[in-house]
């Protein structure tokens, strides 16, 4: 192998190893992996199954909240959520119809909610403001209207 080839092959492999170590550390040591909650639900009985029989914002502890949410064409239930600054919020979500997306613009919250699966994602809102919530999985004719807001104050 040519000497220059050795140089760039070594640097390339080193770079890949560094990237993988950083991402592996984030995922396994810091819990920053993509949302992948392994819990199933009968999609036809979402509204009768706990906790989805009572969707809403629930206080779980000191500055700790759970938002139980149903995503159904073409709305988020509950909508217009209000939370205090610094709240650690776990969104527990299910869909009774088709795949929906749950993205909060300006944050790392981005999850796919599939019928038959319960999805969970946790985020701490450190900044006050009004956050736009969007469905980012095409879910039908009214997909572009499927949005709401989270107000942090």
């Amino acid at each position: 192998m040519h000497r220059l080839e050795e140089i760039w092959m070594t640097l390339s492999i080193g770079l890949l190893v560094i990237f993988m170590v950083v991402i592996g550390f984030q995922t396994f040591a810091m819990g920053m992996g993509p949302p992948s909650h392994k819990e199933t639900i009968d999609p036809q009985k979402v509204s009768q199954t706990a906790p989805f029989d009572d969707p809403g914002v629930k206080k779980m502890g000191e500055n700790e909240y759970e938002v139980v949410m149903i995503l159904q064409s073409f709305q988020f239930t509950p909508s217009d959520i209000e939370l205090p600054v610094g709240a650690e919020v776990t969104f527990t979500m299910a869909s009774p119809d088709v795949s929906h997306g749950f993205q909060v613009a300006g944050t790392n919250i981005n999850a796919m909610v599939m019928p038959g699966h319960i999805q969970k994602i946790t985020h701490t809102f450190n900044e006050p403001g009004e956050f736009l919530v969007l469905c980012n999985e095409y879910c039908g004719i009214g997909h572009q209207m499927m949005s709401t807001t989270i107000t942090v104050q």
Binding site: L4, I7, W8, L15, M32, G106, T107, N108
Partner: protein, 54 residues
Amino acid sequence: MMAERQLSRSTQSVKSSNAEDENSLRGTLVSVGVVGAVIIIVWVSVFWLYMSRV
């Protein structure tokens, strides 16, 4: 005699062009370096964007 000369010329030119090819890997190194720099910049940007939103 003529043919021999031509043959030796052509082998010389083959040899010299081989030597040029080896030197021209510098250009390849620079190109690979540019691609690598772009990859590093994009990766670090996405990493920074994610960490700034945690």
